[in-house]
Amino acid sequence: MSVVDVSDQESWFHKNQQRIAPWLFLAPGLLFFMVYVIIPVFQSFNLSLYEWDGLGAAEYVGFRNYEDLYWEWVDRDAFYTSLKNNLIWLLLYLAAIPAGLFIALFLNQTVWGIRLYKSLFFFPFVISQVVVGLVFTWFYDPTFGLLNEFLSLFGLGPLNVLGDERFVTYGIIFAGLWPQTAYCMILYLTGLNAVDPEQIEAGRLDGAKGFRMLWHIILPQLRPATFIAFVVTIIGALRSFDLISIMTQGGPFGSSRVLAYYMFEVALSEYGFRMGYGAAIAVVLFLIMLCFIAYFLWSMYREERGH
């Protein structure tokens, strides 16, 4: 049996090319990702067991930070508010999905200029949340905001949405829904493109029309789009930071905080620098998100196996 010459470095590499190549291709990306994402996640877990102001030495306190969080929960303090608001965000943010679907259905036509319309409707997603926050702050402004001008037409108001702890979270979510709806809309528009026209025709022959057609035939086919819309919306809801930071800074009196913002406030804002405590909040947020990540990965795993 002829043996391939192994003495030569070149040829060894060539021989094992297929086995080594993927690792060479992966190396830079993996390195970056490890250093900046994966390892920090574990560092955060670790840090959450310490008390550290970012200056001196960190002091190991075990689960003390979590205990504090627990008491904040019991006392209905900032952590409680943040968690509660996070849940409200999670729930209400999902409204972007039906809203996006509705707009997508509205725009799914082939009239002249529709392409331009579609992109203009997508606009809110492209602009920065900072700008969105600013715009809506003005919209809600109690003295001159358009909202109150509008309400006064009906003899209502004035309403200080961002200054009232009962409305503030909803007000911010509403602002967030604007770009998120645009995002869902575009997902659905691409999804609608992929709907099998023959199934629609089969449905027409079967006598399904309007809403029943939508419910029984279109929506099931839009499942992938809905799934992605769901994932990005959930993640968007849990990550919500920019809007709160711009619109209220968590106020009034901390009633619009969410975990993401609270964590920032505790760890890095002017009055903060309780790094360990912040890390503990992040861990809680991470655990919530983990449910969704697991769900997402599980779906992907099933699909991969399916192939």
Partner: protein
């Protein structure tokens, strides 16, 4: 100065005076210092004021300058405790400083040592629309009853007594400072800031009860929780509110917005409890030498230069910082507000001078309490709940 000529090497100075006017002032001052020390290579870095507050943590440990600006009192405590600021008690022992800067020594003292020098401070107080007062036939109040009576008239005229923007919380801290110092005195206020008194103490409640009187009568503008302090200015400019409890830095924007010195005036916050001495808020801005600085000799010389009587006169005059000099030998600019402020602080503040709530209380406590103040201003009925919350926070924060 006699020893100065031999200074050599590099001197790195970090400044947080990022607004154009103060920045120019400081740079000019450094320029003058450089002229006296041609052997010294001076490098100045100006950092955005807000950014500076977080960045200081980084540069004190790595890439450290020789001199840095900061704030007095509790605000410098974390760095002192972490050993990041140089002990400059030696400077304070020098007669020139010991004699002339005595009034601010307390603010820079922790554990009996001094950790920096002040370079400017400014008074707080009530800035008001003199024309509106005249229109309503009011005079500057001095007692709580006069205050309430005045306010009642203003409210009846369809205005708010006070404009305020509490979105960023600290403005409410100013109100609390004054109300509490007037109700319970400077000592008590300090104890509270240091966590030595319960928030559910009757005396604290009294402070809030006084505050509530104003709130209930509609003394403050509506929706203040949505405005920053600047956004609250127009209410005063437009005549929707008659006064503003604020630091002297509010004068410049009010003038810019078109109010003349005839329309604008100043009075000291009224006395409430006749049994306590008047005390004032006068936040002090400071210079420090980081412990890791490399050219401490030059840095010390710079600090001496900054607090010298001439420089203090120069940098605090109306054309420059427009604030109060810290050196007793300096001249106060003849701006009417500076004069009034200087007079007030030097002769009518027997109780003491506080730095400001968020500098006197630990950061965490400041944050939680100011949130509470804001909530109280919007929902005074929640007081008990708020105080309970603050008390819990106190127990946690001061515990270690």
């Amino acid at each position: 100065a006699p020893v100065a000529a031999e200074l050599t090497g590099e001197l790195r100075i970090f400044l947080d005076t990022s607004n154009p006017a103060p920045r120019a002032t400081m740079e000019a001052m450094i320029e003058r210092f450089a002229e006296q020390h041609p052997g010294l290579e001076i490098e100045t870095t100006v950092i955005d004021r807000e950014a500076y507050k977080t960045q200081i943590r980084n540069f004190l440990t790595a890439d450290t300058p020789d001199v840095a600006t900061w704030y007095a009192a509790n605000r410098m405590k974390p760095y002192v405790e972490a050993g990041l600021f140089e002990d400059v008690s030696d400077l304070w022992a020098e007669p020139e400083i010991a004699d002339n800067l005595a009034s601010t020594k307390g603010a820079l003292t922790i554990d009996g040592k001094q950790w920096g020098v002040p370079y400017t401070y400014y008074q707080w107080g009530v800035y008001y629309r003199k024309d509106i007062f005249d229109e309503l036939g009011l005079t500057e109040p001095t007692t709580w009853d006069e205050e309430l009576a005045n306010c009642q008239k203003i409210v009846e005229s369809g205005r708010a007594c006070y404009t305020i923007g509490t979105k960023f919380l600290w403005t409410a801290g100013g109100w609390f400072d004054y109300l509490n110092m007037r109700t319970n005195g400077f000592e008590f206020h300090n104890q509270l800031a240091n966590g030595e008194v319960s928030w559910e103490d009757e005396r604290v409640k009294q402070t809030f009860a006084n505050w509530k009187q104003l709130i209930d009568m509609g003394a403050f503008i509506d929706n203040h929780q949505t405005y920053s302090w600047q956004e609250a200015l127009p209410f005063m400019v437009n005549g929707d509110a008659a006064a503003y409890l604020m630091g002297n830095f509010a004068v410049a924007p009010l003038r810019e917005a078109g109010l003349t010195d005839d329309q604008l005036d100043f009075y000291q916050f009224v006395s409430i409890n006749p049994d306590v001495e008047l005390a004032e808020d006068a936040p002090t801005d400071t210079f420090h030498i980081p412990a890791n600085a490399s050219n401490k000799d030059a840095a010390r010389e710079f600090l001496r230069f900054v607090v010298s009587a001439d420089e203090q006169t120069e940098i605090n005059n109306g054309a420059n910082l427009g604030q109060l000099p810290v050196n007793a030998q300096s001249a106060v600019d003849d701006d009417k507000f500076l004069q009034q402020g200087f007079a007030m602080l030097s002769s009518n503040s027997p109780g003491g001078v506080a730095q400001f709530w968020d500098r006197d209380a630990p950061a965490e406590m400041a944050k939680v309490s100011m949130e509470g103040f804001q909530e109280f201003m919007v929902k005074p009925d929640n007081l008990d709940r708020i105080l309970a919350k603050l008390e819990r926070a106190r127990e946690r924060i001061y515990e270690n």
